[in-house]
């Protein structure tokens, strides 16, 4: 029996992405269509670093499909504390669950873990690497609000360490998109990521900027991420730079009326609360979309006859 894993958004073709998003739309429109479909199914949650939100979203999705979860619990109280390897942990918990969700601080952790198990494994974040379920809910939100083709998107903030950004940018190369990356110079996209994007889309759809001003009027979607204080040596430097990448009602005077603003949340002060009540704000909707999208992914991965990819890898 073939089982797919979901490790990176790079493994997904346009067709695969559309399969997932279409299924999420069906579920969103009629959640009862899949209710109880995965009764008796157990999803193993292995969070080696805390992420309450992502974990709750997976738990909700599994329970809405009729299944339940088994949770490794915080690392402090598990065998990991005693020095157990990830490879051993996943091989043990594989025996308890029908699929695994892994979040781990090291890059490549999900790739490696998937080589040790036979049940479907979903990457819920591997250090600075990938976070493909976030990408799928981002894509879903973009599709609902602006469409994925003929799209001009600005992605702004910490582009260096933001794995959400890397995964999303890569996935968008499957569509007719113009991507603008807006960040301070010290937080630009890593060259690895730029290399991949150019490999994928001949570079024509990719532009990097240090200011939002010049391209804001042309954007259909603005995806904002947090610039973290710890990336800067001192408070003044942080305040000065981060301030240039915050948006409020004044900033948006220059924007199109149809501009959709997204944010993976939690936010601090990147987006002023006054924007929440405008038609631009899509970030709470985006967070809610995590459930139908994860339901769609789990339903596809857990059904023997479906899967998310046209062909098995390796």
């Amino acid at each position: 029996m073939r089982h797919d894993h979901l490790i990176t958004s790079k493994q997904l073709s346009r067709e695969d992405i559309e399969t997932v998003l279409d299924h999420a739309s069906e579920i969103d429109a009629d959640p009862s269509s899949v209710a109880g479909r995965h009764a008796e199914t157990l999803l193993g949650l292995l969070f080696f670093e805390p992420s309450t939100r992502t974990k709750m979203s997976f738990e909700t999705a599994m329970k809405r499909l009729g299944g339940d979860i088994v949770d490794m619990g915080p690392v402090d109280s598990s065998s990991v504390k005693k020095g157990e390897t990830l490879a051993d942990t996943v091989r043990v918990i594989e025996g308890y669950a029908d699929a695994l969700v892994v979040r781990h601080p090291k890059q490549g952790a999900a790739t490696m873990a998937s080589e040790f198990v036979d049940v479907p494994l979903l990457n819920a974040g591997d250090g600075a690497g990938h976070h493909p379920t976030q990408t799928m809910l981002d894509l879903y939100t973009i599709r609902e609000n602006a469409g994925l083709d003929d799209l001009t998107i600005g992605i702004m903030g910490d582009l260096k360490y933001g794995r959400t950004v890397h995964s999303l940018a890569y996935a968008l190369t499957n569509f007719e998109t113009q991507q603008h990356f807006i960040s301070p110079e010290s937080l630009q996209l890593p060259r690895e990521v730029v290399y991949d994007l150019h490999q994928q889309q001949d570079g024509a759809g990719i532009r990097e900027h240090d200011s939002l001003e010049e391209i804001l009027p042309s954007l259909d979607v603005l995806y904002v991420t947090r610039i973290q204080r710890e990336r800067f040596p001192d408070e003044n430097e942080y305040q000065k730079i981060a301030g240039e990448y915050q948006i409020d009602a004044d900033t948006l005077e220059a924007a199109s009326d149809d501009l959709t603003i997204m944010h993976p949340l939690p936010r601090v002060d990147e987006i002023a609360p006054e924007i929440d009540e405008t038609d631009h704000a899509a970030y709470f909707e985006q967070a809610h979309n995590g459930v139908p999208v994860r339901m769609a992914l789990l339903d596809l991965l857990l059904s023997d006859d479906k899967g998310i990819r046209g062909e098995a890898d390796e």
Binding site: L86, G108, E115
Partner: protein, 162 residues
Amino acid sequence: MSDEHDHHDGDADHELRVSKIRDGTVIDHVRGGQALNVLAILGIDGTNGEEVSVGMNVPSNRFARKDIVKVEGRELSQDEVDVLSLIAPDATINIVRNYDVVEKHRVERPGVVEGVLSCPNAGCITTGDEPVISRFSVLEDGVRCSYCETIVRDEIASLIDT
């Protein structure tokens, strides 16, 4: 046989600089300055008494300068040749038996190298205690970790797992 046989081309004059070997391997057409890295890849540091001659920055037809490494009593394994190809993509390997070149081949870049290089990214899962063998895909101008996707273009030799 190659058209660039050592003993009959323009390098002949310089042949004297590096002594002949009886049985072993001559790695020729190594890019100038890479000879010591070639030795590092082969794990040769002289402490085991191997007889090694190195010619560095020898004038060459093919490059302005090349290095030559001759190792007595040692034939290279395929793994060694694979890694060699990463830092010396133009090298020719001559297997010598009883003073004659019995085999001569160019190195070929493999698609993947496993277990030979270690990832320079401290945040990579392969750098911890996990029971995982490093794996790098070979790009046109570097190597890339199959786990964390870090690309290394320069100083690949420094990643060699010793």
